[in-house]
């Protein structure tokens, strides 16, 4: 014991390593627009000391935290500030029921499953002014928001019908955690990934069982459900990594971050053994190219001017460079790299009536930068950033994987990779 004495300080989420430098507060998008939120330093490590004294010191204003993790990126002392805040929210929420609105917003897969079946109706109804008004006043979902359109066919259904049988023929293989957005709203992104991976000689496979990663459940306080779903996902990922020796690819930065880091930090689901095998497809592809294991060949006539927006969780992982460098490989693409600013939506946060104005105030800096960049579209790795930017700037927003797939010369790429 004595030889370990005071060699290092250990505290949950490193809260005691905080030297109160306050850099985190200077980068906090919420603290920048409202005095109601005490900022990450006070809400995190400072407040934690009081909450250890008595949980009564939980400050309800912690609900204003976006969990964007910008504080953690900025912290020079390695304090998991946002994790401290999330854990405090979780403890304070124990035994409490989430509201109908929050439950609905959080259950992206449940909502998707129902909406898929009646997609045209759901899309038309959710977009109607009277529906929006009811949602605004009864459900407290802001009237400015439109739910992302639901697809008639789920990605999983498309995959099983049109792609699955071909995948075993490829020499190499990956698994794909598609997430709710691809499955219910935008299967094209998943199709683009299959197109891209197949062209490089990789077969794409679904996980044995995939459930919603739970990022929205955590944000809305449905921790039990998040844990339940998280355990299912962790088991499926572990199986494909250990048995099939496949890397699990993703196309959503928030799902990825949740699976890799929030599972152990917030939900107590230890995914550290498979963490290195879960990654965004752009990182996987970039590394293959960098190691000269695959080649991408692009169309000669592709011409676009696009701005890249770094999603907060992308920044937390430090992976934006993979997406940016991949996009830069497209000869006809004029890529404008935007300064790293939060768009303000933070998943379901911006959908809530009480958060709408704050959400837009946070995003306003980014929206101005996008306007100044004079581009025809924006690229980003996060679907909720996409909704926010599309609503707030009117520009189309695409995932880098879709842009790559769009610009790809499939035949030339297949040949270049010996297929």
């Amino acid at each position: 014991m004595a030889d370990k004495m005071q060699i290092c300080n250990i505290s949950e989420n490193n809260f005691e390593q905080c030297t109160k430098c306050s850099i985190c507060t200077t980068v906090c998008p919420v603290a920048a627009v409202t005095t109601d939120y005490p900022g990450p330093k006070q809400a995190g490590p400072d407040g934690e000391r009081y909450r250890l004294k008595d949980p009564a010191y939980y400050d309800k204003m912690l609900k204003l935290c976006l969990n964007c993790k910008r504080c953690e990126v900025a912290c020079p002392s390695g304090v998991h500030i946002a994790d401290i805040i999330q854990s405090a929210r979780m403890k304070a929420g124990e035994g409490k029921r989430a509201s109908l609105r929050d439950t609905m917003l959080a259950n992206t897969d449940l909502l998707g499953m129902v909406a898929n079946k009646v997609a045209p109706l759901a899309n038309a109804t959710l977009g109607l002014a009277p529906t929006k008004l009811v949602m605004h006043s009864v459900m407290a979902i802001d009237k400015h928001r439109t739910f992302p359109a639901y697809s008639r066919t789920k990605f999983e259904t498309w995959f099983k019908r049109h792609a699955q049988s071909r995948q075993d023929a490829y020499p190499k293989h990956v698994s794909y955690f598609h997430g709710c957005y691809v499955n219910y709203n935008f299967p094209k992104l998943g199709q683009d990934l299959v197109k891209l991976m197949n062209a490089m000689g990789y077969g794409v496979h679904l996980l044995d069982k995939e459930q919603c990663c739970g990022v929205a459940l955590i944000a809305n306080g449905l921790y039990k459900q998040a844990k339940r779903q998280g355990r299912v996902n962790a088991a499926s990922i572990r199986q494909t990594v250990n048995t099939d020796h496949r890397t699990v690819l993703t196309t959503s930065s928030s799902c990825t971050f949740n699976l890799r880091d929030e599972y152990p930090a917030i939900l107590g689901i230890d995914t550290r053994d498979v963490r290195d095998n879960i990654m965004l497809a752009t990182r996987f592809i970039y590394r293959l190219i960098d190691e000269e294991k695959v080649k991408l060949v692009f169309k000669k006539d592709y011409q676009r001017r696009i701005a890249y927006h770094t999603a907060c969780h992308m920044q937390r992982m430090g992976w934006q460079l993979y997406s940016i460098e991949l996009l830069r490989m497209i000869p006809g693409l004029d890529l404008q790299e935007l300064e790293q600013e939060c768009c303000g939506i933070s998943g379901t946060y911006g959908f809530k009536k009480e958060n709408y104005e704050r959400s837009q105030a946070i995003g306003s800096v980014l929206f101005k930068h996008i306007a100044d960049a004079q581009v025809e579209a924006v690229a980003t790795d996060c679907e909720t950033c996409k909704w926010q930017i599309e609503m707030s700037t009117g520009l189309p927003v695409e995932n880098p994987i879709s842009i790559l797939a769009d610009a790809l010369d499939v035949e030339a790429t297949r040949q270049a990779n010996g297929l």
């Binding site: 300080n9 030297t19 000391r49 009081y50």
Partner: protein, 547 residues
């Protein structure tokens, strides 16, 4: 501002010493209708009062060795829970037996507790771990007792406030330079007002010496000899609470065997060393003391080995030699009240000493009884039943989760009880946090400066908790200094005060300046010296060298 009027009154009683004993005595005297003046040479609660564990003993610690002290403790413990609720946290305590300890002592201990009237329940080690997860898991025995945590700064201030509410005058930064002695009778004190250098004389019919370890010097001024045996104890403050309950070792009292959760921190202590009376003002903590505290502390709670230490401090217990054995071999830990008329033939002079913070109220009662006997006052003591200001029946509680207090409001209620209502909360500025670690708002600082005798940042720290968090004043001291500079219309003084305060914070950090505490201190130095040039703005020459 002190006006001459205060000096010109002839008091019934002058109390020397602004620790908790002096404050409790002043309160008791005032409540019995006496005209009281309390004088303190520094700030209130700067001596042993502000330099102990903050432990509200159940008395269990003394049960085996000193049954009388144990009985006094449990009786006062129960009283303080009622009258000083806002200063007390009812944590309960454990006395744990480790494999190296003799488990048979547990029986002796529990029997002694029962004799003293202290509830002591033997519990299963597994249950002890369940209710106090930080405890050493190797324990082989545990006893639960009604120990608690108490804030001595708040307790002192609450007593002073009540004394003033009942007509007492209290003066800090007034040092006793001599006694007015006339024909074998003490008739008052000669004072130095340390804030303006003025010398004054104040008359009182009885003078009470409640100066703690400095009481020997005070007694000498009246020509009376008391043999004090200063016992020094050092303690360490950790950055956050690792324990919810007080944790003690179930064995004969020894070094570093009590860990107390105090507000946002926890404190391990103490060492115990006899020191020469000449060195009682040297409060520096040595490396050896730090080592003893850590090595013994981890036996109570192993996580202390990796928990950040933010400060070290030391205090001196005012132990007194029994009159029948001036050698000091038999030192009493009990309350000693000396009527110098009977003992030494000096009229109008009483010393109250020994005892513990725990028994301050009883000490006040005993000495006030003696004062009243001299003055022919027959009013009964009511301090055991009358709540202190802030702790009245129905006062708000920091633990009340049904109320939607803001963070700063809750923290203020924790510190001031019902008096938190005096803090402005109706605008954004007053609600803004000055000290983010401890949740001190602009409003609370204004309240402290206007109503709690705050002259500088160190005073402010004792009244609120400004600068007591892990950053030790890095962010808050500058904001607080700026506020005080505004309130006092004196920027220069605020700058000097800021430098003094940072210096004072560093003194406590220095013995434990490694790891994150050292990083913290270096960042503070970089900000204030490197960035703001405070060392250039303030002339620190002639100030005490930082040790």
């Amino acid at each position: 501002m002190v006006t001459n009027e205060v000096y010109n009154i002839e008091y019934d009683v002058i109390v020397i010493g602004g620790g908790v004993t002096g404050a409790g005595t002043a309160r008791d005297c005032a409540l019995r209708g006496l005209k009281v003046l309390l004088v303190e040479r520094n700030d209130y609660s700067t001596g042993a009062t502000g330099r102990n564990h903050g432990l509200m003993h159940s008395g269990a610690r003394y049960a085996v060795t000193d049954g009388e002290s144990a009985s006094e403790c449990i009786s006062e413990n129960m009283i303080l829970r009622r009258i000083a609720r806002h200063c007390v946290e009812e944590t309960d305590g454990l006395f744990i037996t480790l494999p190296e300890d003799d488990l048979t002592y547990q029986r002796t201990f529990v029997d002694a507790c029962q004799r003293a009237g202290i509830r002591a329940d033997i519990i299963d080690p597994a249950e002890a771990i369940a209710i106090e997860p930080s405890v050493n898991p190797e324990l082989i025995g545990a006893v639960r007792v009604p120990d608690a945590s108490i804030d001595p700064f708040r307790l002192t201030v609450a007593n002073l406030l009540d004394a003033r509410l009942h007509g007492a005058e209290t003066l800090n930064y007034h040092e006793v330079e001599g006694m007015i002695v006339n024909q074998g009778r003490v008739e008052g004190v000669k004072l130095l007002n340390k804030r303006n250098g003025e010398h004054v004389e104040v008359r009182g019919r009885v003078v009470v010496n409640a100066a703690g370890i400095w009481g020997q010097r005070i007694a000498q001024m009246a020509g009376v000899n008391i043999s004090m045996f200063p016992a020094r104890g050092a303690l360490l403050i950790f950055g956050h609470r690792v324990n919810k309950m007080v944790v003690n070792r179930c064995r004969k009292p020894a070094n570093a065997d009590i860990l107390v959760p105090d507000d946002t921190v926890c404190v391990i202590g103490t060492t115990s060393d006899r020191i020469p009376i000449e060195t009682v003002d040297d409060m520096r903590v040595t490396r050896e003391e730090v080592d003893v505290l850590l090595n013994e502390g981890i036996k109570l709670a192993p996580s202390l080995a990796t928990t950040r230490v933010i400060r070290a401090y030391a205090g001196v217990r005012p132990l007194v030699a029994s009159d029948d054995d001036p050698s000091g071999r038999s030192i009493s830990r009990g309350i000693v009240c000396l009527d110098h008329a009977k003992r030494d033939g000096v009229e109008g002079f009483i010393t109250i000493t020994g005892g513990k913070m725990m028994t301050y109220r009883l000490m006040g009662e005993i000495v006030t009884d003696a004062v009243c006997a001299k003055l022919g006052n027959t009013a009964p003591c009511v301090t055991a039943s009358q709540p202190l200001p802030g702790s009245e029946e129905g006062a708000p509680s920091q633990h009340d989760t049904t109320k939607r207090y803001s963070f700063g409001q809750r923290a203020a209620i924790g510190r001031h009880g019902s008096l938190a209502a005096r803090i402005e909360t109706d605008n954004d500025i007053d609600n803004a946090l000055v000290c983010e670690c401890e949740g001190v708002t602009v409003g609370e600082i204004k309240y402290a400066v206007h109503q709690l005798h705050v002259h500088n940042l160190v005073n402010l720290r004792r009244r609120t908790r400004v600068g007591m968090g892990t950053c030790q004043g890095k962010l808050c001291s500058c904001r607080a200094a700026s506020l005080m500079g505004e309130m006092n219309h004196d920027v220069k003084r605020a700058q000097e005060d800021l430098a003094d305060f940072l210096d004072e914070r560093w003194k406590g950090m220095r013995p434990v300046a490694w790891g994150d505490t050292l990083r913290e201190a270096q960042l503070t130095a970089a900000i204030y010296e490197g960035l703001c040039g405070l060392d250039k703005a303030v002339d620190m020459t002639g100030k005490e060298e930082v040790q």
